[in-house]
């Protein structure tokens, strides 16, 4: 879920997960993995702007990181996440082949799984327009510091896997100096940590 006026949410964790996937699925461009992991939120933005999906602060939490309760019944319902991820994967499979399409579809769906861990129970199985269904969410955000630490661990571990894979790939290609791999790894980890910092502190609103 993207950050909004009502509170901050998971971004860097998705980002770190995508970097880690790159280490094992090296044919998939990093930008497409990043886009995949944020895809549900990308679709959420216009629906939020138009008032179809909304977000509010939880009454049991101070406004800020981990305080959000979302009403994203289309983009963040289980069915909606499956459909959006399938569409995303199918589009990229058309251009880059079935394997890459499946990877990107699964990474897109990983967004819902990670959100499931941290969200309070606000993720429906089905959009209410189709049928009433239970709302899921394990609520790790009730412990914002623990959530942040876990998110940071995902960023650091995913970035490390990415950096190690980049160095291995460079060496295998006969590149003597892995400067570009080091720069890429540094940008990935710094980007993730900076995003998490602003998310946790709310300095960007």
């Amino acid at each position: 879920m993207a950050a909004t006026d009502a509170g901050q949410a998971v971004i860097a964790g998705h980002f770190g997960f995508a970097a880690g996937v790159k280490a094992s699925q090296r044919q998939v461009p990093l930008w497409s993995l990043m886009l995949a992991t944020a895809w549900l939120d990308v679709v959420f933005v216009p629906l939020y702007a138009s008032g179809v999906e909304t977000i509010e602060s939880a009454p049991d939490a101070a406004p800020g990181y981990g305080a959000a309760i979302i009403h994203a019944d289309y983009t963040h319902s289980l069915l909606g996440a499956i459909v959006l991820s399938a569409i995303f994967g199918a589009v990229f499979a058309w251009f880059w082949g079935q394997r890459t399409g499946i990877v990107l579809g699964l990474v897109s769906f990983s967004h819902w799984v990670l959100d499931l861990i941290v969200h309070r129970p606000d993720l429906p199985l089905l959009p209410p327009a189709i049928a009433d269904s239970p709302r899921l969410g394990f609520g790790l955000w009730r412990l914002p510091t623990a959530s942040m630490v876990i998110e940071l661990a995902i960023v650091l571990f995913g970035s490390f896997l990415y950096w190690r894979a980049a160095r291995e790939t460079s060496a295998a290609a006969g590149v003597i100096h892995s400067t570009r791999a080091d720069i890429a790894g540094a940008v990935v980890v710094v980007s993730g940590v900076v995003v998490l910092f602003f998310d946790y502190t709310g300095l960007l609103g």
């Binding site: 993207a2 950050a3 909004t4 901050q8 971004i11 980002f15 970097a19 790159k22 090296r26 044919q27 998939v28 461009p29 990093l30 930008w31 990043m34 886009l35 944020a38 939120d41 933005v45 199918a90 499979a93 058309w94 251009f95 880059w96 082949g97 079935q98 394997r99 890459t100 399409g101 980049a166 790939t169 460079s170 290609a173 590149v175 570009r180 791999a181 720069i183 890429a184 940008v187 990935v188 980007s191 900076v194 995003v195 602003f198 998310d199 960007l204 609103g205």
Partner: protein, 31 residues
């Protein structure tokens, strides 16, 4: 929304530097 835009910029930057690493290319073709 400002935060979301910042995220997009970071994603683009990561994508650019990733292009400097000789990764294998995805297999082109229809599913």
């Amino acid at each position: 929304m400002q935060f979301f835009l910042a995220l997009i910029l970071f994603v683009i930057a990561a994508g650019i530097v990733d292009g400097g690493v000789p990764w294998p290319r995805p297999t082109r073709g229809k599913p």
